[in-house]
Amino acid sequence: MNTQNTPLIIQARNLTRVYRMGSTEVRALRGVDLTVDSGEMIAIMGASGSGKSTLMNILGCLDRPTSGTYTLDGARVDTLSKNELADVRNQKLGFVFQGFNLLPRTTALENVELPLLYDRTGRKMDTREMAARALERVGLGNRMDHEPSEMSGGQQQRVAIARALVTEPAVILADEPTGNLDSQTSLEIMSLFQKLNREGTTVLLVTHEPDIAEYAQRIVELRDGVVIRDEPVLAPRWAEEDAAEYHEPEMAGVR
C-alpha cells in the first residue's frame, strides 16, 4: 500500500447493487469497500458470478450502485445523470476490453482519436497529434494507418490501450485484457501495462487468471458480492523479464 500523502483516485464505500428480475432480486454486490491510490496497479479477481463485472461496471461509470458512495478523482459520481456519467467516462476513464472493440475498416489513428471526438470541454483540439503520440507510447508509431484487419491480436489490443490512454484518464480499466491472446502476447500486453503504470498511470485490471494478476501490485478478490481478499502482491513479477524468455522479435516495439 502506498503512503497516506498519495491522492486517492477511487474511494468506494459500502457499494451494493441489486438487480430485479421480475419478482426475484439478485444481490450482485453486498457492500464493497475499495480505495485506489494514484499510480497503483490493482488486479480484481473472482470467479464468474462473484460480482467483479458488476463492480467493474460501477467503477467504470457504466452503471450506478443501488446504494453506497463512489468518489472518483475527488468527485462524487454515484448520483450523476446519464449524460454526466458519459462525460466522466470520457474525461476520467479509459477502457480496455477483452475483445479489443476496435472499429473495423478504420485506421489505428482514427480508432485512437475516437474518444477525443466526444470531448465536450473543447480543450482537446489537436486530436490527430494526441492520437499519434498515444500510439507511439504503445509502440505502434509505425502502424498508424493500418486497419484492425491488418494487425495481430496483440497489436489490436495495443491500439485499444492507446485509445484508453489518449484522454489522459485518471484510471485505466482493463476487463480481461489478455483473455483473447496467447500467453506470449499476453505477457507483452502485461509488460505494456506495467510500463504505463511506471510512467504514472493508475491501472485497474479485472482477470480470473492468477498468473496475470501477479503482475499487479495488489490483488482484490471478490466472492458472492463481497471482498474476501485485499492484499499487496509480495513479489510482483515483471512481464518484460518473463517475456524475454520467448525471445520474440515483436518485443522490439515495447520497451
Partner: protein, 405 residues
Amino acid sequence: MKNDILLKIAGKSILKNKMRTLLTMLGVIIGVGAVSVLAAVGTGAKSQIEEQIQNLGTNLIVITAGSTSQGGVSQGAQSFNRLSLEDVEALEGQSFLLAGVSPIISSRAQMVGGSGNWVTSAEGVDVDYTVIRDWPLASGAFFQQEDLRSNGKVVVLGSTVAEALFPYEDPVGQQIRVRDVPFSIIGVLAPKGQTASGRDLDDVILVPYTTAQTRLSGRQFIPQILASTYTPEDIPAAQEEIRAILRDAHGLARNESDDFEVRNQSELTDTASETARIMTLLLSAIAGISLLVGGIGIMNIMLVSVTERTREIGLRLALGARGADVLTQFLVEAVVMSLAGGVVGVALGFTGSEIVKAVTGWNTMISPQIVLLALGFAGGVGVFFGFYPARRAAALDPIEALRYE
C-alpha cells in the same frame, strides 16, 4: 462532435455496404425520379397551354349574347340576342378603358380562287381586330374605315387559307370568290398556331363586318363582341365598365339580370390552372406513396444497421458518447442516404424529362423549385424514418450493448 466528422462517419458506414445502400436508396431514387419527370412534363404542358391562351390575344374581353328569362324560365345562352351594332358603337363611344372593340360575325363560307377551293370560317370584324387579338399581318394591309363604310369587298386571309389556295404565290392583290362574291385580297395574317383544344386559328378569313352582314351572313344581330384593354390590370374595371354601358344601352332595370356575358382571358387561364392543379395533386399522391415506401426501406435498413452495430454503439457510449451523439450519428446517416437518393433521383428525372422532350417535343422543364422540393422531401423522409432507429440506438444500455454478440 464536429459536423464534418459526423458526415465522415455516416459516409463510411454507408459506403461499407454499397449494394445494400444502393437497394435501400432505390425507393427514394425511383420516387424522386418519377416525381421530377412528371413535374417537368406537367410544367411543360402547363406552359404550352398558357402560351396557347396567350395566342388568343392579350388583354382580351369576350362579350357574348346572354340568356334571358321569361316568366322565370331561363331560355339559355343566346336565346334572345340583343347585341347589336349600337352596342358596339356605345362601347366605342363611351368606354375609357378599352383599347379596341370589334363585333364578330362569323359564318362558314365556300371560296374559290388561286389553285382550288376551300371552306373556312369567314369573320366580319372591325378595323381594331388586329389590335385586339394582337395579330400582326405577314404581308399586305388590313382594311380601313373606308372599307367598312362602303361594305368593301376586301378580305384578309389567315395563313392556313393562304397556304391552301396560293401555295406558290403571294395572294395579296389576287381575287377570290367567297360565296360567289368576288373579293380582292389585301393582306395575309401572320401564323398564330392552334388553340388549346387543337383548333387551327389560322384557318380563317377576315372581312369588314358590314360586308359580312350584307353579303355573307345576311343577319343583323351580332353574336359576339371582342374588346381589349391597354393593360391586363385594367381588365376587371373594364368588364365593369362594359356591363354598365351595355345595361344602359339595353335599358335594363335595376332588378333585371344582364342579358349578355362578359368574360376575360384569366377565366380561360383558370381552367388551365385547374387542370394543372389536379395534375399537381396527382403527382403529390405519387410522390407521397413512393417516398413513404422509400422511407420505410430506409427505416428497415437503419434498424438492421443499429442491431448489427450494437457493439460499436456500446463502445462509443463507453468512450463518452452521449445518447444525443449516437442519435445524431444515425440520423445523419439516414438523412445522407435519403438525400443521396434524392440527388440521384433528380438526376434521373432530368434525364427522363430530356428523353420526353426529345420524343414528344413538349417543352418539359425541371425548375429549381422542383429540385429543392424533391430534395427537401427526401431529406424530410430521412429525418422522419431515421429518427426511430436512431432513438433506439441512443437508448441502448452501454453494458448490454458491449456484451452483445
